[in-house]
């Protein structure tokens, strides 16, 4: 009997320890071409030496959910293990003709549009599985976009912590204050994923927001 009590006690302790050590599923969400993959690449490159996916000026370059396991991020002596999940940009419309402007041929444009619609469906399905989400917004664009509001609304309803990244601060039109004004209840960090600007503050915010995780 005493042995059984001891065994159960240790089992509980150890399972608890391992549960805490499981990787935090960190999702990158946002509209197309906001720089989700650029940011995920920057982080993965910094901590694992490898990138997660390809980037392009043509919208909907990421059309499948992409993963990078075991990304350990250290900040001020603390370490956390993440599973990075880069998702296709969410939009409410896809027109293959929009891709033709980028000199994509008609057949490829149609295929890209088809894959992009599937990618958006996949992104939405993955919302349930995240432990924490980074919403990547293009700080040169109007943040009052229903897609942004819908994604955040879904995350709030699921009690998933959110960090908003105002990307592309290296560009002249960038307006981080506008994003802060649009989402006053959330942490907003201005960065440039392309140039690796202000990533220290980003990592600090990641550690701070991760404490809100269920």
């Amino acid at each position: 009997m005493a042995i059984k009590i001891f065994r159960d006690f240790f089992k509980r302790i150890f399972s608890g320890l391992f549960a805490n050590k499981s990787d935090i599923k960190l999702g990158f969400y946002g509209p197309p071409n906001s720089g989700k993959t650029s940011l995920a690449n920057r982080i993965c490159k910094d901590w694992t030496g490898e990138e997660i996916g390809s980037v392009s000026k043509v919208p909907h370059e990421t059309r499948n959910v992409q993963f990078k396991e075991k990304v350990e991020i250290a900040y001020k002596g603390k370490k956390m293990m993440f599973k990075m999940i880069d998702t296709p940009g969410i939009a409410t419309k896809i027109d293959y003709e929009d891709f033709l402007k980028y000199k994509v041929n008609k057949k490829d444009a149609r295929e890209r549009a088809k894959e992009a619609t599937q990618g958006i469906i996949e992104s939405i399905k993955w919302l349930d599985d995240m432990d924490m989400v980074v919403i990547v917004l293009d700080s040169t664009k109007n943040p009052y976009n229903q897609v942004n509001i819908t994604i955040i609304g879904n995350l709030v309803a699921r009690k998933i912590p959110v960090l908003i990244v105002a990307n592309k601060i290296d560009l002249r039109k960038s307006d981080v204050k506008k994003i802060e004004a649009a989402f006053p209840e959330y942490d907003v960090v201005g960065i440039s994923a392309r140039l690796g600007k202000n990533l220290e503050e980003f990592y600090e915010s990641i550690f701070r927001v991760s404490k809100k995780k269920k």
Binding site: I124, T150, A157
Partner: protein, 137 residues
């Protein structure tokens, strides 16, 4: 009759209408029913003005179902969507009051949702205080 400036452009848009849907029309429907009703209206080349708003998970479901239809419904390229919410900056008491009212009424009736087919609505431009519908030529 001499056409005034601007009238010519409006004449070029292929037929569409604006439909107003009171919340009572969707209050008793489940998520599936609401989305089906909305998409039926939008697929009929109508711009829908819905009293109230969908729940967050219904909004994302609407986007997902819209994506599933692109490529399967002729000339359908998706939707333009915007919600103008009623609650701006509120103190805690007012927030509690509006949450109570929303719970009793079954939704945020002060909000307005605008949904239009992307083939007609080019963009819904918004900032916190105004909303503009830009139509395709």
């Amino acid at each position: 009759m001499v056409k005034k400036r601007g009238q010519e452009k409006i004449g070029k848009i292929k037929g569409f209408s604006i439909q107003f849907l009171p919340y009572s029309e969707i209050r008793l429907l489940d998520g599936n029913g609401r989305i089906r009703k909305i998409l039926d209206i939008v697929l009929g080349n109508n711009i829908l003005i819905l009293q109230g708003r969908l729940r967050a998970e219904e909004e994302s479901r609407l986007i997902g179902d819209t994506m599933a239809m692109i490529g399967h419904v002729k000339n359908f390229k998706g939707i333009e969507l915007a919600v103008v919410a009623s609650n701006g900056e509120q103190n805690l008491f007012n927030k509690f009051k509006s949450n109570m009212a929303n719970a009793l009424l079954g939704g945020d009736l002060g909000a307005v949702t605008i949904i239009g087919p992307a083939s007609i609505v080019k963009e819904i431009k918004r900032n916190p205080k105004k909303i503009e519908l830009l139509l395709n030529k």
